[in-house]
């Protein structure tokens, strides 16, 4: 029998690694004062496709319920948690979650995430706490070869404000910025050469943090951009003080979902180039509930992390027993809490065990 693309059964080491990644995440989140939250796997499509959230309808796994409403498999944690928190209205503001999300894209349907959401948390405080969480957690799972990238929705948005684009033009320009497609950005902005030059430079404004200094000087007369650059510089300094000296920026990064509204960050594993976490600020997300609530969060890609963590395997012990000595073997097993213990009735393969204890004749004594 076949499985759909990207779906897979898992046994053995990769499963251990995944459990390890989830377990450590749980420990770190709890120790930092986060409370667990879980939302259902099945929700209404509209929760994710309404204009405030704007996930592409085609990407969702969907079907009709008995009343003809469209239901989906959870495609995104952040949106689902926002909906849940508005309904439950708890007083806590720091939440963590772990589990699968489902979307139709090139890498298959199911992917596993572990993440945090902080609401009612103002800029800088939230950004620092979120980034500190990421560093703390990656260190706890012993991942050290990574680079953190910082970006901000506001730079691009400030620059295009004078263009008064139609929504369609805005979508095209945003996509061209997302693809760093210089010729298209040039074409779409030809009516305003000043903005055109700014955006063409912004496409290229990725790399080490010295770009922040360049932008600070270049845009010294623009208060909005100066404030953003200051914020990002402050975060870079925090990361440096925590021993993360390889931070990069992409000032030309644009948001992919409409509710993002501030700092955006992500982590790349240096060796494979895979994205191991991403997140940012989305103060606009709660506007759909007529609420003004500041929010920030990030999600780790559990599949990517599980592929790169090492788990220490416990040493294996075999106790050879018989019907008469099985209880004795069980009592012995209870004393060996830091080992993997098999109780067997026949000679085990020596290669599979570091220690073999034979209790077959113990009962006779």
């Amino acid at each position: 029998m076949f499985l759909p693309d990207g779906s897979q059964d898992q046994i053995g080491k990769i499963l251990l690694k995944k459990q390890h990644v989830y377990q450590i995440f749980n420990d770190v989140a709890v120790s930092r004062g986060f409370k667990a939250i879980e939302t259902p796997v099945i929700e209404y499509a509209d929760t994710f496709t309404n204009p405030h959230v704007g996930m592409p309808f085609q990407q969702l796994l969907k079907w009709f319920d008995r009343e003809g409403a469209i239901e989906v498999l959870r495609p995104d944690w952040t949106t689902a948690i926002a909906r849940a928190l508005m309904k439950l209205n708890p007083k806590e503001s720091k939440w963590f979650y772990q589990g699968s999300v489902f979307t139709q894209d090139k890498d298959g349907i199911e992917s596993r995430q572990a993440g945090i959401e902080m609401i009612r948390t103002a800029p800088i405080e939230g950004e620092i706490e979120t980034l500190c969480f990421a560093i703390d957690y990656l260190s706890a799972v012993d991942v050290s070869d990574y680079v953190i990238e910082l970006g901000h929705t506001g730079i691009y948005e400030t620059m295009i404000a004078p263009l008064s684009l139609t929504p369609d033009e805005e979508t095209k320009l945003r996509q061209a910025m997302h693809d760093k497609r210089q010729d298209v950005v040039k074409d779409l902005t030809q009516n305003n050469t000043r903005v055109q030059q700014q955006l063409l430079d912004l496409i290229d404004a990725y790399g080490d943090v010295s770009i922040l200094d360049r932008y600070k000087v270049k845009y010294q007369d623009d208060d909005t951009i100066v404030t953003i650059i200051k914020e990002l510089t402050q975060l870079v300094n925090v990361l440096e003080q925590l021993g993360i000296d390889q931070t990069i920026v992409d000032l030309g990064r644009v948001k992919q979902l409409p509710y993002y509204s501030g700092t955006m960050f992500r982590g790349y594993l240096t060796t494979s180039g895979e994205e191991c976490f991403s997140g940012g600020r989305y103060d606009k997300l709660y506007q759909q509930f007529n609420q003004s609530i500041q929010a920030i969060g990030l999600a780790f890609d559990v599949d990517v992390l599980a592929g790169s963590v090492q788990v220490e395997e416990l040493s294996r012990v075999a106790i050879i027993a018989s019907e008469e000595t099985h209880v004795l073997a069980e009592l012995k097993r209870r004393t060996m809490t830091d080992k993997i213990v098999d109780v067997v009735y026949s000679e085990p393969n020596e290669k599979d065990y570091e220690t073999i204890i034979d209790l077959r004749n113990e009962g006779a004594k």
Binding site: K106, R181, Q182, L200, Y268, T270, E274
Partner: protein
Amino acid sequence: MKPVIALTKGRLEKQFLNYYQSLGYDIEPLTDKGRKLRVDTDDFQFIFAKGPDVATYVQYGIADLGIVGGDILAECQPDVFDLFPLPFGACRMAVATEEGKVWSNGKKRIASKYTGITKAFYKEKGESVDIIKLEGSVELAPILGLSDAIVDIVETGNTLKENGLVVEEEFMQFSARLIANRSALKIKREELKPVIDRLKPNGGNEHD
């Protein structure tokens, strides 16, 4: 590790090599490669693949950069940075049909290798058509009655002409493009930036 550049085999490969040589790079290892699909030069490792596969290798990070036709990118929509056009490989996308074709009032049948582009084009026009996917020699389809028209790239127009077809409408222009893997561009910036700048037409002196 040297940066990996994926090249589209065939016609685009020759045009790229001419361009690459004009920038002062030594192309000898790339022209004397025999049937090898992977070649190391002093600066880079090159891999040779079909256009859509170049996009795939770049998307999955096997190659850091790729040289591929804009038509392939429009059709396959890979998740990559689509940096800029290169000064070769120019072509147009066109609807072509038999000379003197009398259109019926029914739903048209369009044959194409580019089913994605064809669908988007007619959707934008607000016209429903049936699309038939072909792998090549699409000019045959209207002649043999498989379809009413074709959507295909046109360079000189000679193939169309020799097969008795005429361009009904042109709607997109393409050239070869430089694409980059989304994370490689960021985390290998130091290695990739010099070659990207050098490949940029006009030496990248357009701005700043």
